[in-house]
């Protein structure tokens, strides 16, 4: 390598890392500030120039949130709704995705195409009659009303189908010849084979349900039943001035999903690349 080329290479690398640091800082700064401000004393985050780190870190806002403001209840509500939705969605979408990929039945492809077309319809169109339906079923202000419409997802079915297409037919036929029922084949051969995509589906469903705002906001009217995001949006109305308290609330809401994502990143990323580049 000539000297000029080497120098060009080195400045290129420096520029690369500089850009990386800037981009990374912009990406993390709001989250780091949220964390830092949540440990500040009341009023410390509303000073000029802005305080970046707490002078005397305090847990008082977390104590307030879990004590006086009962945020623990909302966290439990969110955990319950997200867990039940995830388990149900796994069972329902995994069996449908597998059938669309590997079982032959009349009307399969037409049904699948119709479903794909449905993806283009925004959920908001269905929301108003869906609310009336939920109301007539007596599920307003009930977790059932939040959970049931989210159980079956076209995206989830697509995801599983895409993965299940790769299962060799010979494997399934061998089991059938041995006398296994279709259900048995699904349980003991298909499910173990598609485990990675089930992890992806579970993670996506859990995070999407945990983060969801508009639908639980519409369905849940009793504030004891709120999920975390709905409770947090209500809290900011009353406590807009308590920056540090609100930041602690934001940390409690965001931390579980961030931790889940960091632990299971690989599966999450799978969902993006599989789901979008169909």
């Amino acid at each position: 390598m000539t000297m000029a080329r080497a120098r060009e290479f080195r400045t290129g690398t420096v520029a690369l890392y500089a850009a990386l640091v800037v981009f990374g800082a912009l990406s993390l700064l709001p989250l780091l500030w949220m964390l830092s401000a949540s440990f500040m004393a009341q009023g410390e985050a509303t000073t000029f120039p802005p305080a970046l780190l707490p002078r005397n870190p305090t847990l008082v806002h977390y104590r307030d949130l879990f004590g006086r403001l009962a945020l623990g209840r909302y966290a439990m509500n969110s955990a319950l709704v997200a867990t039940v939705t995830t388990i149900g969605a796994l069972a329902i979408n995994a069996s449908a995705g597998y059938a669309f990929a590997k079982l032959r039945f009349r009307g399969r492809d037409a049904t699948f195409r119709a479903m794909a077309a449905g993806l283009a319809i925004p959920v908001q169109v269905a929301m108003l009659p869906l609310f009336l339906l939920i109301k007539s079923l007596g599920l307003v202000n009930n977790y059932g009303g939040v959970i049931i419409p989210g159980l079956s997802s076209i995206f989830g079915i697509f995801l599983v189908r895409q993965y299940a297409l790769a299962i060799p037919d010979d494997l399934l036929d061998a089991a059938r010849i041995d006398g296994a029922s279709e259900f048995r084949v699904f349980r003991s051969i298909v499910l173990p084979t598609i485990q990675p995509v089930l992890a992806t589906l579970a993670l996506w469903t859990f995070l999407a349900t945990w983060n969801d705002f508009m639908w639980p906001l519409i369905v849940l009217s009793d504030d004891r039943k709120y999920t975390l995001p709905v409770a947090l949006a209500g809290l900011v109305g009353e406590h807009a001035q308590d920056v540090e308290l609100m930041m602690a609330g934001a940390v409690i809401t965001v931390l579980p999903v961030l931790i889940l994502f960091l632990m299971l990143q690989r599966y999450y990323v799978e969902g993006v690349t599989e789901g979008s580049v169909k």
Binding site: A45, P49, Y98, P122, V125, L130, N211
Partner: protein, 301 residues
């Protein structure tokens, strides 16, 4: 009557495939397809608070909801706001995604996994929570953003209080939140570009910028168009950011179509009017989808 033999239970007359898809299809039909069709009917009625108590009170009003909404200045403002958000925010988000993807994909870079996780982290966070965080970052006096801009001589901006700045502020926040998603798609796209193309160009004496301009961009263009349109379609459904950060203000500058629909439907309980708004939004989305179909190559979508 010819009873099925003992070895074939009645259920065998239905192909097993249908049993596997039945729960999912039932749910989709009851909780999605049905409501979508019902929304068409709803948009032709004067369904309101009284009808909520007794559905028989709702009457057929034909196209009146549509004509009323189309004469409402607020509808046009919400449409303009929504298009502003999608048409500016979409490309901006995709540009940031591409930049991040090029960075992460650079061959000289180590800790690729860490960089990717850092850029992706905002996307997995809870929108309501980070929208609240940004409300404070945007504070005209104590906010971090104005303080940082002050260092380069920018006068304090009333981000969420000034009608001219409120939408740009929401766009900036949404860009921050969402660029990580498309970044992953671009990284996959970049890795599909044959390395020989870059090497051949380098042998011909192309500078890194020329290689980016004449190799990377053309190879990535199909993905890029697709991603821009998909992002814009998602952005047309803007709701949570203005709900949490501005309540649609100031002076309605951030009222989006979905927020307008929500207010009509779930605050004032004018469900007929709200359904008409929902269908007008759907119409806009259909236009974007047709555009996407037209420009996406090889039926990639």
């Amino acid at each position: 009557m010819t009873a099925p033999s003992a070895r074939t239970p009645r259920t065998a007359w239905i192909a097993p495939g249908w049993w596997f898809v039945a729960p999912a299809l039932t749910l989709i039909v009851v909780f999605f397809v049905g409501p979508v069709l019902a929304a068409i009917v709803l948009s032709f009625t004067d369904f309101d608070l009284y009808a909520l108590a007794d559905p028989r009170a709702a009457r057929w009003v034909g196209l009146r909801n549509y004509s009323r909404v189309l004469q409402e200045p607020l509808f046009w403002q919400a449409l303009r706001n929504t298009l502003y958000f999608a048409l500016v925010g979409g490309p901006l988000t995709v540009a940031a995604s591409l930049g991040a993807a090029l960075l992460v994909n650079a061959r000289a870079l180590r800790w690729k996994g860490t960089a990717r996780a850092v850029f992706f982290a905002p996307f997995v966070t809870t929108l309501v929570a980070v929208a609240i965080v940004w409300r404070y970052l945007y504070h005209p006096r104590y906010g971090l953003l104005n303080w940082m801009l002050g260092h380069v001589g920018v006068q304090p901006i009333d981000w969420l209080g000034d009608p001219r700045w409120a939408m740009p502020a929401i766009i900036l926040m949404a860009t921050w939140k969402n660029f990580g998603y498309n970044m992953l798609i671009f990284i996959a796209g970049l890795q599909n570009i044959p390395r020989e193309l870059h090497e051949a160009a380098a042998l011909d004496g192309a500078t890194p910028f020329q290689r980016f301009r004449h190799v990377t961009i053309p190879m990535l263009a199909p993905t890029m168009f697709f991603v821009v349109i998909v992002t814009m379609i998602g952005y047309l459904q803007l709701f949570t950011e203005p709900y949490v950060m501005t309540q649609g203000g100031p002076l309605r500058a951030t009222t989006s179509l979905v927020l307008y629909m929500y207010e009509e439907g779930f605050r004032w309980w004018r469900l007929g009017v709200a359904a008409a708004i929902a269908f007008l939004l759907f119409l806009v989305i259909v236009l974007f989808t047709l555009l996407q179909r037209r420009i996406s190559p090889r039926g990639a979508a």
